[in-house]
Symmetry: C2
Subunit: 137 residues, 2 copies
DNA sequence: TCCTTAATAGTAATGATTATCTTTATTGTT
DNA sequence: AACAATAAAGATAATCATTACTATTAAGGA
């Protein structure tokens, strides 16, 4: 449990998420940075994404594969049930919901609101193809 | 692509989810049924849970490990950030949100609203222990 | 420059889920 | 009831995301 030190890898990882609008996965960050840092390891990406999330510099989004967001204000997201891409919803985060949801002995801290749908790209290229729907409630 | 046949395994799997209030995972269903059906295979549980979800008899909930619900009316859920358990929120599903969320070329079909918090059991046993927070937005 | 040790790279291990493949069982038909 | 066609099961291997482990590298203070 020592003091945190600077590392160029962590810095680049943070900047990569910041610069992206794709809510990238660890794999996506890894592949992008690898071009410039061929020796980068995937484990390093995972470790640092979690460190950054832990210290509040990033937010981790759920789902079957984790995604990361440098936009710290909580907000709803849109997820494509075809390609899995994630976008920000233009909608405010309603913290009052957390109060309403509390019941029994639950202590509600936050909520995640994810809209499932078809993204512009997928909606265009496939008015015929019927891929597997990956929707969650 | 043949016609669907009856199978006692599928029937029991469906009943197991129906009878549970835990929004069980595939593993949970498997372990429970195994007592009565020692030869049951985990792959069979996964295959049938997905078949049942596909034909609309069950709903699949997201998260790092998939959970299943026989309550078909969409509704928000509570998830414990300590133990991972899932419960129903006593709150109506607001379909009007889906209309509001639509933007650009997105076709929104549904949404999932999950409250993150501490369940009664975890809140009781640990006002001292500080486990890893697993919260998603 | 030297030391301490946090952080990395590389790789093995884990856990959930999916795929493959042989055997079993459902169901329509004799 | 026996038969044939094939959906589904059981067993196991493979895949994918993520985590753990270990020897080496590199912050950063003395």
């Amino acid at each position: 449990m020592g003091e945190r030190r600077f590392s160029r890898q962590r810095e680049r990882i943070y900047q990569a998420v910041r610069a992206s609008r794709a809510h990238p996965t660890a794999q996506m960050v890894y592949e992008e940075l690898r071009e410039q840092m061929p020796r980068l390891s995937l484990g390093t990406v995972y470790r640092n994404l979690h460190l950054l999330a832990e210290e509040g510099a990033l937010v981790e989004l759920g789902g079957p594969v984790a995604r990361f967001d440098a936009q710290l204000r909580p907000h709803p997201h849109l997820r494509c049930i075809r390609c899995g891409c994630v976008a920000d919803a233009e909608m405010a985060y309603d913290g009052s919901l957390d109060v309403q949801a509390a019941r029994d002995g639950w202590q509600v801290e936050s909520h995640s609101l994810i809209f499932n749908g078809i993204c512009p790209a997928c909606g265009k290229e496939s008015e015929h193809l019927k891929g597997d729907s990956i929707t969650w409630n």
